[in-house]
C-alpha cells in the first residue's frame, strides 16, 4: 500500500475499500435483482488497482494503473446500467455508490498529475470534466432504470438520445426558425445598432454621462417581459423574436462599447493628435482596436442573452415550429424525451455560439493581457 488517506483521492479510496466488500456480501445474501459476477469482479479489481496506485510509483506505472482503473470502472458501470430488472436489491445500490466513489477517486488522481506539456498537457484538463459528465449521465440512466421512473417524469439519457437521432428533421426546422431567423438576425441588428449608437454617444460627453447609468439600469431589468408586446406588434413569426432579441442585447452591448471607446488614455490620444490624425483615423487605428476587449465581452454576454430571448419569446406565441414552441407544446403532451432533446440542442447551440465569439476574441485581441500565458 502506497500513500495514506491524506493523499488526494485517499478517502475516496478508503470508502471504496469499505463499500465494495459490503456490496459483494449484500449481493451474495440479498434478494431481488443483483449485480452480475462480472460487475463484482471488476469492482474488486478496482480496489486492488487503487491500492497499488500511489505517488511512489514510476510515471509509466501510474499511467498504466490509471488506464486499468478507468477500464474496470467502465465495465462495472456498464454492467450496472445495462442489465436491469426494475427490482434491484441493496447490493445494486452499494455497487452504485462504489462506482461513484471510484470515479471521484480517478478524477482526484488525474487532477494531481502534473502536466508536462505536449499532448497529455492538453488532454489532462479535459479528463476530469469528461469523467464527471459521463458519471452523471450514467447515474441518471442507472437510477431511472432501476427505480422504474415513469417516462413522463424523467426519461433516461438513452431514450433521449434515441429520440434525438430519430427526429433530426424536426429539430433542424426548429433550429433554423429559432436560431438562424430569430436569434441571429436580432443579434446582428441589436449589436450593430448598439455599436453605431455608441460611436454617436462617444462624441458627446454629456450624452455618455447620461446614458451609461440609464443603460446599466435598463440592462438589469427583466427585458424579457417585453416579449408579449413584441408578439402583438410583429406577429407570431420570427420578426417578433428578433425584436425581443434586439431589445435584450442593445443595452448591454451599448454600455460595453461606450466603455471600450473610453479605454484609451490621454497620452495615446495626444499622440494621434500630434500626427494630426482626424476623428476617423483615430477611431480606426487607435480607439476601435483598444475597445475590442470590451466589445467582445459585450458580444459574449449578448450571445447568451440572445438565445434565451428568442426561446422565451416563443412561449408567448409562435408559428408551429421553433425551439420554444416545441418545448412548451411537448411539455403539454408529456413527451419529455423530445423536450430533453430540444434542450440538449439548445445547450450545444448556446455553447457553440458563445465559443465562436470567444475564439474570435482570441484571434482579434491576442495582444490583451487576459489572452496571454495560455
Amino acid at each position: 500500500m502506497t500513500g495514506g488517506v491524506r493523499m488526494p483521492g485517499g478517502w475516496q479510496r478508503l470508502g471504496l475499500a469499505v463499500v465494495v466488500p459490503g456490496a459483494v456480501a449484500l449481493a451474495l445474501t440479498g434478494q431481488g435483482g443483483q449485480p452480475s459476477g462480472i460487475v463484482m469482479a471488476a469492482l474488486v479489481a478496482a480496489v486492488v488497482l487503487a491500492f497499488g496506485y500511489g505517488p511512489g510509483r514510476a510515471r509509466w506505472q501510474r499511467a498504466l494503473l490509471l488506464l486499468a482503473l478507468w477500464n474496470v470502472l467502465l465495465i462495472a458501470a456498464a454492467g450496472l446500467a445495462l442489465r436491469q430488472t426494475g427490482a434491484e436489491g441493496a447490493g445494486f445500490w452499494a455497487a452504485m455508490v462504489a462506482v461513484w466513489l471510484g470515479g471521484w477517486m480517478l478524477v482526484a488522481f488525474v487532477a494531481e498529475l502534473r502536466g508536462r506539456g505536449g499532448l497529455w498537457g492538453r488532454v489532462q484538463p479535459l479528463v476530469a470534466p469528461l469523467v464527471f459528465g459521463v458519471t452523471v449521465l450514467w447515474a441518471w440512466e442507472a437510477v431511472v432504470k432501476a427505480l422504474d421512473v415513469p417516462r413522463v417524469i424523467l426519461p433516461a439519457p438513452t431514450e433521449i438520445g434515441l429520440r434525438l437521432s430519430q427526429s433530426t428533421d424536426i429539430l433542424w426546422t426548429d433550429l433554423v426558425q429559432t436560431f438562424v431567423r430569430g436569434t441571429l438576425s436580432g443579434f446582428a441588428i441589436g449589436c450593430g445598432a448598439a455599436i453605431l449608437f455608441a460611436l454617436v454617444v462617444d462624441r458627446y460627453g454629456f450624452l455618455r454621462r447620461g446614458l451609461l447609468p440609464v443603460g446599466n439600469f435598463l440592462a438589469a431589468l427583466p427585458i424579457i417581459g417585453t416579449a408579449p408586446i413584441f408578439v402583438m406588434w410583429f406577429g407570431f413569426d420570427w420578426p417578433s423574436k428578433a425584436a425581443v432579441v434586439v431589445a435584450m442585447v442593445f443595452f448591454p452591448m451599448l454600455v460595453n462599447t461606450v466603455q471600450g471607446l473610453a479605454a484609451t488614455d490621454a497620452m495615446q490620444r495626444d499622440l494621434m493628435r500630434t500626427y494630426s490624425a482626424g476623428w476617423w483615423q483615430t477611431l480606426m487605428t487607435l480607439r476601435l482596436p483598444a475597445a475590442m476587449p470590451f466589445v467582445f465581452n459585450g458580444l459574449k454576454i449578448c450571445a447568451t442573452l440572445a438565445l434565451i430571448g428568442a426561446i422565451v419569446a416563443e412561449f408567448f406565441g409562435s408559428p408551429t415550429r421553433g425551439m420554444g414552441f416545441r418545448i412548451s407544446t411537448e411539455v403539454g403532451r408529456l413527451q419529455l424525451d423530445m423536450v430533453w432533446s430540444e434542450i440538449a440542442v439548445a445547450a450545444l447551440l448556446g455553447s457553440a455560439f458563445y465559443g465562436f465569439w470567444a475564439l474570435l476574441e482570441r484571434r482579434v485581441t491576442f495582444w490583451h493581457p487576459s489572452q496571454r500565458s495560455r
Binding site: V107, V152, P213, A220, P228, M232, F316, A347
Partner: protein
C-alpha cells in the same frame, strides 16, 4: 452630482420619444374610426385621441402610470375584493401578483445563493471537484437553462408539488451558477503573500477561511448576487407562464391573450420596479458591508 443633469436629460428624451412614437403607432385605428363615422379628424384631435385609447398599440406613459396606480392603490383601497374591504389582497391588483412573484424569487434566491456558496467552498478546497465540476459550472453560463423552466413546472406539478416551490427551484438554479463562479473567483482572490502571512501565523484552515478568504471574497460575492437576483426574478416570471396561479408572469400572459396592452405594460413596469428595488437593496447592503469592512472603493 455631475451626473444628475445628464441622466435626467436622457430620461426626459426617452419619455419624449415614447410620446412621439405613440402618435403614429395608434393613429391608424383613429383614422379608421373617423373614416367609418364619416367624420373629419383634425390633427390636434387625432393626437389627443391616440393618447387615451382603451386598447392602444402603444399606450402612452401616463396611461401606464394611471394603470399602475389603479391596479395597486385604488384597487386595494376601493375594490370589492381589495385589502380595505375584504382584509386580503385583491387578486386583481399588482400588489398581490408582485407579492407572489417576490416570495418565489426570494425563496429561490436564498436556496440558489446558499447552495452556490457551499459548492464554491467545495471547489476551492477540493482539487477533484475543481477539475471536474468547475468547467461545467462555467459552461452552464453559456446555455439557455431557462428552457428547462416549463418542464420543471409541469413535471413537479404532475407529481403533486405546486405553488411556490417549483418557481423557487427555477429561480434557484438561475441564480446558482453566477454565484458559484463569482464566489470561486472571490475565495481565490487572496494573493500568495497574504496566504503566506497566514501560514507564518500558523493559522488553522478555519482561520484562513474565516479571516482571509471569506472577507476577501465579499466584493465578488455582492457582484454576483446582483446578477443572481435579477436572474432569479426572470426565472420566476418565466416559471409562472405554464401554470396560471398568479404572479407578474401570469399578468403578462393574460394581458397578451386578451389584448390588454395597458395591463401588459403595467405588469412590465411592476416587474422592472421590483427588479430595480431588489438590485438596489443588494447594492445598499453591499455599500454598507464593504464600508464597515473598510473595503469601500
Amino acid at each position: 452630482m455631475s451626473r444628475t443633469l445628464p441622466v435626467l436629460t436622457v430620461v426626459a428624451a426617452l419619455l419624449a420619444l415614447w410620446y412621439l412614437a405613440v402618435i403614429p403607432m395608434n393613429a391608424q385605428w383613429e383614422r379608421d374610426q373617423a373614416a367609418r363615422a364619416g367624420a373629419d379628424l383634425p390633427f390636434g384631435q387625432l393626437v389627443a385621441r391616440t393618447m387615451n385609447q382603451d386598447r392602444p398599440v402603444l399606450p402612452a406613459p401616463h396611461q401606464v402610470v394611471a394603470e399602475l396606480w389603479n391596479s395597486t392603490v385604488i384597487e386595494e383601497l376601493t375594490g370589492r375584493r381589495g385589502w380595505w374591504n375584504s382584509g386580503s389582497l385583491s387578486n386583481r391588483s399588482l400588489i398581490y401578483h408582485g407579492w407572489v412573484t417576490l416570495t418565489a424569487t426570494m425563496l429561490g434566491f436564498a436556496i440558489g445563493t446558499g447552495a452556490g456558496i457551499l459548492l464554491a467552498v467545495g471547489i476551492v478546497y477540493n482539487r477533484a471537484m475543481d477539475a471536474s465540476v468547475m468547467p461545467w459550472a462555467i459552461a452552464s453560463q453559456t446555455i439557455p437553462i431557462i428552457a428547462l423552466a416549463p418542464m420543471i413546472i409541469v413535471v413537479l406539478n404532475s407529481i403533486g408539488i405546486s405553488g411556490v416551490i417549483p418557481k423557487a427551484i427555477i429561480a434557484a438554479y438561475l441564480s446558482f451558477f453566477p454565484v458559484v463562479v463569482g464566489m470561486v473567483k472571490g475565495l481565490r482572490a487572496p494573493d500568495a503573500m497574504q496566504l503566506d502571512l497566514m501560514k507564518t501565523y500558523s493559522a488553522s484552515g478555519g482561520a484562513v477561511f474565516f479571516k482571509l478568504r471569506l472577507p476577501t471574497s465579499m466584493p465578488y460575492l455582492f457582484a454576483s448576487l446582483k446578477v443572481g437576483i435579477a436572474a432569479a426574478l426572470v426565472g420566476t416570471i418565466v416559471g409562472e407562464l405554464p401554470v396560471q396561479q398568479g404572479g407578474l408572469g401570469v399578468r403578462l400572459l393574460s394581458g397578451s391573450y386578451y389584448g390588454q396592452t395597458v395591463q401588459i405594460w403595467a405588469a412590465l413596469f411592476a416587474a422592472a420596479i421590483l427588479a430595480a428595488g431588489l438590485v438596489g437593496i443588494v447594492g445598499t447592503i453591499e455599500r454598507r458591508t464593504l464600508k464597515r469592512m473598510g473595503m469601500a472603493t
